[in-house]
Amino acid sequence: MKNEVVKEKIGFGVLLLATLLVVIPVLLIIWLILSKGWSALSWEFLFTMPRDGMRAGGIFPAIVGTFYLVIASIAFSLPIGVLAAIYLSEYAADNLLTRIINLAIINLAGVSSVVFGLFGLSLFVIFLKFGVSIISGALTLGIMTLPVIITTTREALRAVPKSYREVSLSLGASRWQTIRHSVLPFALPGILTGAILSIGRVAGETAPILFTVAAFYLPKLPHTLSDQVMALPYHLYIVTTQIPYIPENFRFGTALVLVGLVLIMNITAVIIRSKYRKRK
């Protein structure tokens, strides 16, 4: 009997250790970025153009570029992804076509991001003649995030009890009215979770924008969707590997801004989500 207690304690100890091993890298990354990057943060760093071959000045165009890319790609992929998920989960019959579509979505999620970059280059930049531009980059990133949005939206729709649908239908509501008034409102928090996940992915992705939108050095702000922009992940790569004699805190400062930007956008989305949850 006592033996069992010891065994259980060892078991819990192992579980705790595994949990700590997960948390430690996260804390280390945050500590590293903060300690080495904090000193770079200044008004000049955040809100001015880079100077002296990016060794001085700020990273403002890269911040703006990443912000635009996130907004534009989510504006493209969220509606399409949500509508596709509604169709697949609420309307589509379980037949060969639906199964092929599902398989395609799963595979789309497994394609590596550099392949998406090449795809975006051939389709949007060259074939559709959008050029290296925000629109090409945002569409490429949007397609890349579609599987995440479709999958999380479908899970959210499935989590709404079947009985809500039946009650709504039994009260004379049409199928669309049922989806609109008795399914979507309760799936919205889950759908927003998908959007939040996508924001992080879009903001941090480097390979696809390399082919389709990112500029090496462009010290001005974009005016239209057909302009090139600098973007934080690519800028981070450049300042870390391509430019010698750059202050170290510029590198970590850029990383800190990237992480911070994603955090701010996530928090905004979480606040919106909790507002919807409360309205229930």
Partner: protein, 277 residues
Amino acid sequence: MGHAEKKRCDMTDRREANNSSAGQADHPDPKIKVRELTIHYGKVRVLNNLSLDIQKNEILSVIGPANSGKTSFLRSLNRLNDFEPNIRMSGSILLDGRNIYKDLDAEGLRKRVGMIFALPIPLPRSIHDNITYGPRLAGDHDKSALDQLVEDSLKAAYLWDEVKDRLRSSALKLSGGQQQRLCIARTLALKPEVILFDEPCSGLDPISTAKVEESMMELKKNHTIVLVTNNTKQAARVGTRTAFFLMGDLVEIDSTEKIFTAPADLRTNDYIIGRFG
């Protein structure tokens, strides 16, 4: 095998005999007329060649063990079966002489044939919103009319006094019995002609059950009611007539008194005295 088939034939004969006597006779103009209704889910036949009439202002209790097809039957009356994948149906259901699958649209039908589910399922909205859900979606936005409708419906479901001060609070905060009466009120707000009850008291305590049964007896005056129940005593208490289903077949339909005192079929007798099911 041969024995089972013989038994089935036997059963069919007896059912037809019943149909011609109590199932279809006396009233020439039934509210609902079901003819040769057969339902398959995939390869499984859940309802076999069912024919019966439901009269105006009666409570028809449908009893039978699990998998007897009684819920499938109920859900075909308001076309809630439409959304089952792999369902195949044949036969006809007439409401006031009109085929509900051909002459009526599903939404219009469901407003005339309301349904109360086994578990109370209030939508996660306020009491007021729950009751006005159907009418609002049907395009009724007159605030004072809706308020009046809420009051009338809640009164008819014996819930008004308990909730009149908190109509705007969440329906999920009500007790189980109150929730089921709210569901009744919500269905009444559509002013249905027929109300289908699908084991409405299976999750309720005896006092709540008594209240739901009381409201059923009251509703009978102006509505036609079909009650599917696993509780044979409930069928005996409220049913005008009772039908006994077994494995997708209608074994017997007759006045509740006859079914519970002198059933024509041995299997009905076995079921109501609790020998199986």
